[in-house]
Symmetry: C2
């Protein structure tokens, strides 16, 4: 990852959404200012790391008063390019695809589920989350019509690579893969994984055997 | 996170499952040795970081030959305590819970979906992934009977905190939360989040606006 904006380590970029999530939460709590120490405490990341990460993008805090939460939130939204909404496709409308299409956590964070696709003829035309399920053959038209560049794959593992190839072919550049398989994509296409087992393993480290 | 084994930064612990995933993949590819440079290339993490992370746990590589993949894989499984299987509960058997219960990516990585719970009387007794859906009132008995200490929450957001409280009360110590809400848990209980919007934001950073 990271052929563009090469000066920022990808691992730093990956922490920005976590900071943004914490800042959103603070806004909900009606807080106005925060500090790298408070963020550190909430996130389990050192305050020095947080200051260093943010310093890649400018001067956001003031000695003494810390960070203005709303301002920092806006700036990170801008840096992550989620200050506008990305129309997003979901491919694979089984149980998981249904759940993804209905997920409430996208809208406030820069994404709108805008098109649903499935290979199963029985599912075509079904309404899910207010959208019709479309045939895969409609992918190109629909992606171009809506300017979709972000997609989520919720197919079985053995179909995920084929779907990824199709998505890349029609112009999708960012793929979130829910299937438990590693995808191969050409340079300039970004892939992230929903990997629940990795999260579980992170926690079992701390549990007594 | 991290009241136990305080000497290891939690952010390092969080990368171990990523290394383990990459090593598993290399085993599937019949590779025998790897290097921090090869891992770095695959993962977008610097080789220096990888070496530093692993050095917290011992000496795994040899100058010249690099890491023996199977050995390093075994060691990390042991460190993460996934060299045995954790019976795992799923609470909330809607679309998402169905998908989680049927997910193929747990078994090889140290977790077995062992009990399913839902609050909806209509769902009780339904068979999902070979298991009966149980009433929430059965939580304590079943968690104790099976020695369950790991759970996943797949309920709607407005029920997730109540479910988390119940899970903690009956002895669960690691919770993976799929609901788009931040949970409050007492010290000694670990929470991780499935946060698809954060993954999408990580990628839109690299896309042209």
């Amino acid at each position: 990852m990271g052929s563009r904006r090469p000066e920022i380590p990808d691992i730093v970029v990956g922490r920005l959404p976590i900071y943004l999530r914490a800042l959103s939460r603070m806004i909900q709590e009606d807080k106005e200012f925060t500090s790298s120490h408070e963020l550190a405490e909430r996130l389990g990341i050192s305050s020095a790391q947080i200051r260093k990460d943010l310093s890649h993008f400018g001067e956001f805090g003031k000695q003494g008063t810390g960070y203005n939460i709303a301002y920092l939130h806006d700036q990170i939204r801008h840096i992550l390019r989620v200050d506008h909404e990305w129309p997003t496709a979901v491919v694979g409308i089984g149980d998981l695809g249904h759940a993804v299409a209905n997920y409430r956590g996208f809208q406030a964070r820069g994404f709108r589920v805008a098109a649903l696709f499935d290979a199963d003829p029985e599912k075509i035309g079904e309404q899910v989350a207010g959208l019709p399920v479309l045939a895969i053959s409609r992918l190109q038209d629909e992606v171009q019509r809506q300017g979709i560049r972000v997609a989520m794959i919720a197919t079985p593992a053995d179909q995920a690579q084929v779907v990824a190839n199709l998505l890349v072919q029609v112009g999708v550049r960012a793929i979130l893969n829910y299937a438990p398989i590693t995808l191969t994509v050409p340079p300039g296409v970004y892939v992230q994984y929903i990997d629940p087992a990795a999260h579980l393993q992170h926690m079992t480290f701390y549990l007594d055997p």
